[in-house]
Amino acid sequence: MTDPHWPEGEPIIELRGISKRFGDLWANRDVDLRVRRGECHAVVGENGAGKSTLMQVLAGRWKPDGGEIRIAGTEATFGSPRDAARAGIGMVHQQFLIFPQLTGLENILVGAPSGGILSLGRTRARRDILRWCRTFGFDLPLEIPAYDLPFAQRQQIELLRALHRGAEILILDEPTSLLSPPEVQRLLALLRSLKEQGRTLLLVSHRLSEVFAIADTITVMQKGTRIVSVAAEQTSPAEMARLMVMLGPAGATGSSGRSEGALSDQDLSSTDVPPLGRSGPPYGEVLLELKAACASPHGNEAALRDIDLELRSGEVLGIGGIVGNGQRVLARVVGGLGDLSSGRILFEGEGWEGLRLAERLRHGLRWLPANLLEEGFCAGRSLWENYLLGHQRQPRFQSRGWLRRRAVCEWTEAELQGGGVRFRDVRQSADTLSGGNVQRMGLLRALSGSPRLVLLEQPGRGLDLLGQEWLRTHLRGLSEQGAAILVISYDLDELLTLCHRIGILYRGRLMGIAPVGGPEQEKLVPWMTGIES
């Protein structure tokens, strides 16, 4: 494919005709890409467009089935990530690759050449890393096990790992998907300073506002091929958004609901999507109620302290805040995996204390967990088996304890197609789905049927623009049907587009709840940092 905006200047990375196939699915097909030295090059596209695969080919994770990679003019073949690291390429992954039982320092040094007699090399490395931390303003504890660290710091570990190995080219795959707004700003500032130091950045992102804040060149991918590469100043978010979806929907299957005309320019630019729309209080009767609820901490999450909230039928309530301020504890309490230490939780006026998750599911609860791959996904099992999770006890899918597999498969197929998930056969392994499609599947599963109370953690994680639009429409539909929806997200912009009201958790306390669009909305960001105002 030709285009007029082929970047000029000496390319440090040149991909020629890269192809990568997984089974019958072409993740990349004949992709050319040129990245200039010292630029920030963003790769954007829909879920399953092949962005992550292309980056992983470049980082040595996958061997391409065809094409060549040239680094600074010489051809390179990467048999492993170690080869790519030797060529100066480091990657920060979407699913952070952290060894939870190792300390921060050990995580950074893992795989790096030891550089001297054991402890000596380690001391030197430690000094280097502390210097990096000072330069970047990281407040990273190096000596505690990584499972205690919040996402932002896990990401810092990955970044430091790449830099410590001397990476001149940094690949960042969806780096902001788990960060709160202040953390995003800090990351962008950090990336700018890395660029000033002469490093080349490759950024994969769905968030066009961030892409335009930092990228010099933007490449659009679709269905595994590169559509166009343009200089950022010569284009606009709206144009990019149109390009990402222009040539028709990404999935040949499951595209029924989409057409080009359905989305206006305004809808597509992620910076000013219209909010869900308030039908105005009162919404309906109170479905979920927390009264002076306290719960003990979980992992590195803060304990809940005296939470009072009401969630009404038809309402979408968002809970925001910086990672680790008690959001997960709240989710576990509502879901039934965590107990209250004091206070009450009521559903339709009945006490839910001591009611197990399975029983809450029968009352109409649905739960999309934050880390879908770890908490809601059976690797290696088929699509229908994954989709059935949580629905397996429904009467329509069984007769006297035996699964009605035909019914399950037909239901799965219809739902996944309706939701625009790219797949061939519901019997195929769920591992073949891309990250964004897995998220879509998880969302579809949680929103399927007629739930009464939906608990969504990080629902927009890894979703592309069409996916986010679809999510908004779907939530609106559910709320009109009278479901109560609790959205927990670290992304305030996402909450603003999805919710009627937003509450902020700070150190386990609910700082307040503000209606979206009202005057109190201004307080949300101060609340996140604990300022009462």
Binding site: A358, R381, L389, Q392, G401, L403
Partner: protein
Amino acid sequence: MTRIFLNWLPVPVVGVLLVVLIGWMHGAGPWHLPAAIWTGAWGTPEAAMATLGKMSPLLLTGLAVALAYRMGLLNIGCEGQLVLGALAAAVTGGYCGGLPAGLGFLLPLMAGAVLGGVWAFPAVWLRQRKGVHEVLSTLLLNTIAVFLAEYLVLGPLGDGTALGRTPAIAPQAVWPSLGAGAPAGITAAPVVALLICWGAQIWLSRSVRGYEVTASGSNASAAELAGIPVASLQRRIFLLSGALAGLAGALEVAAVHHRFYRAFSPGYGFDGITAAFLVGGSPGWLWLSGLVLASLRAADKWLQLALGISPGAIWIVQAVLLLTVACRFRRSSR
């Protein structure tokens, strides 16, 4: 299917070639060793019956391992569960003399299954309450079981001779031979074991509970969020696994030996691990790995007779063959 065939077939061929090579190094003709294995296992009706007779403990211990593995647990303790199950069946069978035929038939089997399950319980309790990995606990419980059984048959439960065995079980508890005439004839035990395996396969792949077991084994946290009671399911499946291994021992007593004696099991509990993993933990295919293992096992004495080599050589052959067969589980580049 064709892909499995293409992926799988050539590797055992390599295994057979290696076996030929071993035989050659032994001084025998190139095909003597594999031919001797074949003749030893299937050459005569008696040999075939003996081979088939070894199927039932392999199938049941294989199923015990496969079932626990489906739940994400490793039951390395089948040997101990089998030995104690056999002892329980032999002792119970000894008291079945006055009972009606049907009850006398079932009681020893039930006793074996129950004791097998009881012997599995500490492992799952230690795992859930004390964080002891079940591989360690079941392995240690094996040792206790084997030597506890040895003490019991030499002492309190022995038949009074110095042979280290229990009295023979009552005739009501004995499984009749199917073929009239053959002295150590074939019983229905292998068929029953095979039906149990297929039943388990159907249950796992077709029932809601079986689906929940598979999901829990694949990702326990995801299963928990789907409302599946993972911990209690783990307990139940592990006890069932132990019960199956105990049943394997009880069947050996009721159908083959009609009593318990010391050094009862030639390692059926450990062969069960091999049998289960050779077919990727899929109970429906256990008959295949069971047949391979039983053939190799049945041929060991014949090797000594025919070729004059040590029956220990069969262990080498078995290990070489099984290693190559296991190669089928390599994943493609993804």
